[in-house]
Subunit: 345 residues, 2 copies
Amino acid sequence: MGRIGKHSFTLERRPRIISSASYVGDKEGKGPLGHCFDKICKDDTLGLPSWEQAESRMFESSVRVALAKIHAQSSDLSCLMGGDLLNQIISAGFAAREIRSPFIGLYGACSTMSEGIMVGSMLVDGGYMDLVACAASSHFSSAERQYRYPLEMGVQATPTCQRTVTGAGCVLIKDPENLNGEYPFNSIELIGGTVGSVEDFGITDANNMGAAMAPAAAETICTHFRDFSTSPANYDRIITGDLGSFGSEMLYELCRGQGYDIKSKHDDCGKLMFSEEQNVHCGGSGCGCAATVLAGHILPKIESGEYKKILFLATGAMLSPVSSLQGESIPAIAHALVIKHVEEI
Amino acid sequence: MGRIGKHSFTLERRPRIISSASYVGDKEGKGPLGHCFDKICKDDTLGLPSWEQAESRMFESSVRVALAKIHAQSSDLSCLMGGDLLNQIISAGFAAREIRSPFIGLYGACSTMSEGIMVGSMLVDGGYMDLVACAASSHFSSAERQYRYPLEMGVQATPTCQRTVTGAGCVLIKDPENLNGEYPFNSIELIGGTVGSVEDFGITDANNMGAAMAPAAAETICTHFRDFSTSPANYDRIITGDLGSFGSEMLYELCRGQGYDIKSKHDDCGKLMFSEEQNVHCGGSGCGCAATVLAGHILPKIESGEYKKILFLATGAMLSPVSSLQGESIPAIAHALVIKHVEEI
């Protein structure tokens, strides 16, 4: 059986990640990872009447590009699963209308990419699905006006704030017993993971998401090590979604309190996405941050063998503007996946 | 393997539904199903400062009551999965914070109860989880002000509109090889289902959700019959979530167009929830409608053997107020589950 510990699972047939795609905005394209992404848009409306429609188009496009790389079409998909930050996940929902495959809508805020791959990998491993697309998106302009202020107001950013990444990322998970020919990735397997629970340390500052999400990341990481009786030494990298620089420091402290020193192994997609010169304060955030960095930057390093085994966990803050206005603190969640380079036999 | 046709799956180990709970508002409690529900609130704020907090409390309570019926606690859960209609699924997310089990957040609008049981049943069947709680909620007052108008405005309802149900429902799915003693339900098994895709017939009237959702329900029902080479004759009932009276008529037409006459087998939770005297126009709607009717009314009939086999499919409209204001039509989705009375050997 695929259960381990209280919160974790193993994938005995080891589903493969065979393709990915990423589509980012102009600012992301000018960052240190700009060369990794499949598509970069100069105009973040993509010529459409609204940012929301542009985000949905980026979501759809990331799925279509990932499929094109394996010479497949959307009708070959067993399922599309994913979500985004917008109310009622309209980016994902409207993209699913165009793609027309079976669809499972998720909401995990910025943890969505981990959540989708986690659920998708179990459904493939269990034999219920053959080819699953997992995708997530976010868009600076659609998120900012939904969560904070209209862009036209020009509100000043706080030192702890992060910039929502404009981008969409997709990965394709395939039944390892139905591999058929060469793919963009031929050496990436999913072997297990840990399902996160909602943690809340009472942070109420919606401009300090890193601090709100760090406890959830720490809890999932430490639970993972305990469930699998393992330690940071057994992973090449431990990569979080978008804790940013402030949240990352808090994560090290919290893990150290449970006996694990992860600092030397840790990367954060939010820190990798932008350079200091880009003036984004604590880094990137949003579902699209972890999704595009995984698709464009991390997976190629696993394929090449530069990383033999990583723990990937996107982190999400489960607040809404309504809950914040009603005085609630910010609950958060993180789901962890073990992604491995396939070893030669 | 558990795949069948393009969109469907079978559950070879047949996970069990062992418990359920339902919590509804005053108006629902006065309807024809009032006697079926576990808890009925007189004051739809539950004495809390906001309707949103009341909805989250109802969600949490439905999970705790379902667990109490099997003398279990939230720490016994492998996972809680579910969602609601509110932005960023705050009802489910904040309930998950209190319950503290692993959590998978879903967004399928009013299809969420089907979606949760579908994913949960595969994760249990595949051996990744032992005991999963699937829950969904909605609340008339929190939904109305989010999707339509402030209640204080007293806007007149249109003839095709439906009333969002105030309620939360939960079912517990259990690994059939780990059954241990007597449960509230000892004879209900999940044997398969069909994953829905997003359908859109171009309906733009947010007061006519039934018409927007009927095409998705028809597509999933007909795909289900084709994938399993079966027909309506093999089911005691085919039960949709909240098409209401107008959407149900449209469903019969659409299924007839594909060669299936389902009218004599069909029930709709939205039609069952309220009586005509309650003046709710086309019936109930909302995630909580299908969730509470399944938990309180349908499952006991399967347990008793009155229904030997049903097809249950909650239906969701994947719109947001923003997408409607931007002129988008209303995409919809429906996921189907085959729920069966366990036959004596």
